[in-house]
Symmetry: C2
Subunit: 393 residues, 2 copies
Amino acid sequence: MYIFSDKVKDMKPSAIREIFKSMNDPDMISLAAGNPSAESFPYDKMASISQEIFEQTPVLALQYSITEGYPKLISHVTNRLKNKFNIDTENDEIIITSGGQQGIDLSAKVLCNEGDTVICEKPSFIGALNAFRSYNTKLVGINIDSDGINIEELEDALKTTPNVKLIYVIPTFQNPTGICMSLDKRKKVLELAEKYNVMILEDNPYGELRFDGEDISTIKSFDKSGRVIYCSTFSKILSAGMRVGYVCGPKEIIQKIVVVKQVNDVHTNIFFQILCSRFMNEYDIDQHIIGIKQIYRRKCGLMLSELDKHLSDMLDYTRPQGGLFLWATAKNGESGIEIAKRAAENKVAVVPGNTFLTNVNEFCPSFRLNYSTPSDEQIIRGIERLEKTLRTK
Amino acid sequence: MYIFSDKVKDMKPSAIREIFKSMNDPDMISLAAGNPSAESFPYDKMASISQEIFEQTPVLALQYSITEGYPKLISHVTNRLKNKFNIDTENDEIIITSGGQQGIDLSAKVLCNEGDTVICEKPSFIGALNAFRSYNTKLVGINIDSDGINIEELEDALKTTPNVKLIYVIPTFQNPTGICMSLDKRKKVLELAEKYNVMILEDNPYGELRFDGEDISTIKSFDKSGRVIYCSTFSKILSAGMRVGYVCGPKEIIQKIVVVKQVNDVHTNIFFQILCSRFMNEYDIDQHIIGIKQIYRRKCGLMLSELDKHLSDMLDYTRPQGGLFLWATAKNGESGIEIAKRAAENKVAVVPGNTFLTNVNEFCPSFRLNYSTPSDEQIIRGIERLEKTLRTK
């Protein structure tokens, strides 16, 4: 009955979300989530800071605030980007956003007209793909190798596609594959962006979560020409439900994002901006993150050893060194949708790989597994059920 | 250097915001704000609920949540809309948003293509006008009489303007004028929306703040045909900084707003959604609101009596029965911009009226005064300074 705008009329709720809705069955084991482990949030410290805020700065924490974000939190983020991620470009600014998602959404809004193209990894984060779709952009997916995006394909797309405005990449522990882009490829992506005069949106929600191997520098850290908009979040290290993230980018771009954020939600919940800031002041966030990494190292290791034990003959899978996900592909070429359906019948939920493609109707023999949300027991039983699924047909 | 999308390229930060930035002078008295009174937030009760949340449901409050909003808060809002605002249409749904602003933004996003028209009151809320502008819509402003929007002008605009998608109105204690639309006009606006097949966006952030006179039913309460999207917020009754609002509208529309909210910020800060819900459970929110109304009745009365004493020969002004603002017009026809500039020299800040017009370059001999934010002392001295401004030239 209602006529929706062209940009949203074909949009549907996320398929992952729909899978969750069908999961009322208490016996279902979900390896389909994208949540950080509930063990990873520092509840007691946050409770104690929360009390301090009500005692010390109640008006500041409950009254309207400025769109750019809480200045002390911006300072903390600035320092962390510099010290931990080697991001220190004097022409950049930071805006605090309502989660990393808002940074992606508003970056697309300020840069893309309807019909413009966004180049993404294939597969990629569905929340970003849908944000781009919500501005009626065209999406072009570039295949990922074991060391990240295929550079030849990327250059080919840049050469042949009109009106490319943005290259969207998650170089570190990519969602959904868990793959890290090599240093060399990061540099090449930046070179190509410069050569073809497009912007890069570097999404780094998992960059703090390396539990194995050596850090690889962010693309943003090489950015001398103001090509890279860098998004991240506190969702995976302090709390996902508070919705606090940030964007670091060229001043002119951040100032435009400020203008559209002002009409989007005025500012991000200021109470939790203060809470994040105080946490970084009063506690050792690196120590806290070491604890999170221990959890994920254990959970990822457990899932991999269960896969190795039960399914190495039937599945290929990535071996992530951080983040929340791994990516499995059926050696027999069965479709990820079929596997996910049959897995659900065996009471284990996985996300079919086609969900993460720019064209969801394309065939995809893969599926995503999450190890951060399930308990150790659930990981063990979940992989057993997956084996049962794959061995019986 | 950067090329922005057509929809945002001409957008500037809000003029009001820029006024604030220039107000570093500690001697400046601001009658230019739009903040609820800092006295109006229930700090102690919120602090105590906050502790309960950390003790009782910490994971729920810090983990990812669903886009639609916290179900218990949705129930409270549903009941309040029914009991207090007579809104009870069985085909409607509610979504919790990150402040009322997000409800306005996403309603425009799902309904308007670039080039479509939104009809607004003239003057109107700048945050809404800029949200509509950020989707590259055309704005048509309809003059307001003392009893609300001019119905003849509205019908004329509906008759002659192509692709009108939305009529945006703030029927109750309108920002910036403080005017209430009469019951009769509310019904006529709905009739016209039905006749010309457009949607109404009814924004009601101040509906709880009537300190004088009798409530007038919301347009939404007459809506039998699914024509009205109704936005409101907890910003003026519990806390503005937490960013919790809601939209009530036809199911199909709310479901589309859910899809775009999901890619905008995933969900609204869940901790404060729980806090609002618990507040309404554990405390008497009506009693709390009675306290807020007392503050605003006193402050508005004080501002009016000071205006009556000092400036009744030079200014016409509205006499609001609720809300945060009144609207003053120079009898000598001096421009609001000039008055605001000269007032700033005398260390009192007001917002020039043209700011609230669809065409900000149009001449406007009015300005907005806010009585919720300044102290009683500041109101008295502020009006004195305004008198000095207007009497010396």
